[in-house]
Symmetry: C2
Subunit: 210 residues, 2 copies
């Protein structure tokens, strides 16, 4: 394996997107590492992270999000871990906390289908990840897991849809990753589409904002 | 109509959720008004709001979000407005900007269905609303519109799913709202479930974080 010259801190600095004047730094500072320290995340810190999630907007203020939190050594942690695809099992077990995001698929009043249930879960989870970043806590959301396996292992009722798994912990040195491919990803620059590819004044007519 | 004693500023102060030490203030300060000033939102400000959206996390870094932006007087604005349900037409026309959030339903590489397309759009949109709040710009997301009418009027292809409409502008006094029911909502306290109803260590077993 090639020498990895960067520490956790140096990697974090390198991963930050370029700041933009007037834009909150937290959007550019949040990223998704795979190398996590042994260090636990305290209940007080988790409370702050979920406090942010509480205040997300939701359709009809339904707040459909429900988070299942597994801390290392717990049965919930083990069940979430077992639902991961092999690729993610290679690194996610170093994170001290694994969360499964679920969302109520119908409105509590009236019972109609809530077509924004996953959309609102995505919002609440993004609040979590931003608040974590503000506390120096790293998060990594994963789509790579078997949602039906997770449903069975964790006993999630049919009326709830499953979103993503979120690894939470403190970022560690890239060199501690088991797989050279992970180290490469850990050090690769973050990439995003320019505004011209995501903001339009009519379909296929980019808006001139830059 | 009863006298409304609160100005836009007083209403905003009253709407803020109680701050929590260590939690970024922006989560508690963002809320969704219905009364908007005539004042336009500059392209520079919109660029900052969408810059935040760029950096949301997404499954496979697909960045599936595409935003259609209507500024007052434009055809896009009119088309988004016409897709709203009557309830929202009563107030949303005062906002200088109406955005329709859409999301690519398949992965660009391989073409498989992206089951997180709406989830990721919800995340990117929440970044927008937080960044707007940080700039003193108000946003109000709406589920109350006809997505198929919006699709037809705006020419959105079948491969894209439709999320929410987002009104963007500067908050105005509640008294300027046309309907007493809107004024009442504008002044009502924001309510959220306690952590014990959204964070669990096993299904139906709340986590002790408070």
């Amino acid at each position: 394996m090639a020498t990895v010259p960067l520490s956790a801190h140096e990697t974090h600095e390198k991963k930050k997107a370029p700041p933009v004047a007037g834009v909150l730094p937290v959007f550019h500072e949040r990223w998704s590492p795979r190398s996590f320290q042994d260090r636990d995340v305290s209940p007080e810190t988790l409370a702050k992270i979920f406090e942010a999630a509480r205040w997300a907007a939701s359709s009809n203020n339904e707040q459909p999000w429900r988070f299942l939190v597994g801390t290392r050594g717990s049965e919930t942690y083990q069940n979430i871990f077992e639902s991961l695809v092999e690729f993610n099992r290679k690194w996610a077990g170093t994170a001290p906390v694994l969360v499964l995001g679920t969302t109520r698929a119908t409105f509590s009043r009236g019972g109609a289908a809530n077509r924004h249930a996953l959309y609102d879960l995505g919002a609440a989870t993004s609040y979590m990840t931003l608040q974590a970043a503000a506390l120096g806590v790293a998060t990594h959301q994963m789509a790579g897991f078997d949602p039906e396996k997770a449903r069975t292992l964790l006993g999630i009722p049919a009326g709830y849809d499953i979103g993503a798994v979120i690894a939470i912990g403190y970022q560690d040195d890239p060199a501690k990753l088991s797989d050279p491919a992970f180290i490469e990803r850990e050090l690769a620059p973050r990439e995003r589409k320019p505004l011209g590819e995501i903001v339009f004044e009519a379909w296929d007519h980019p808006m001139d904002l830059e």
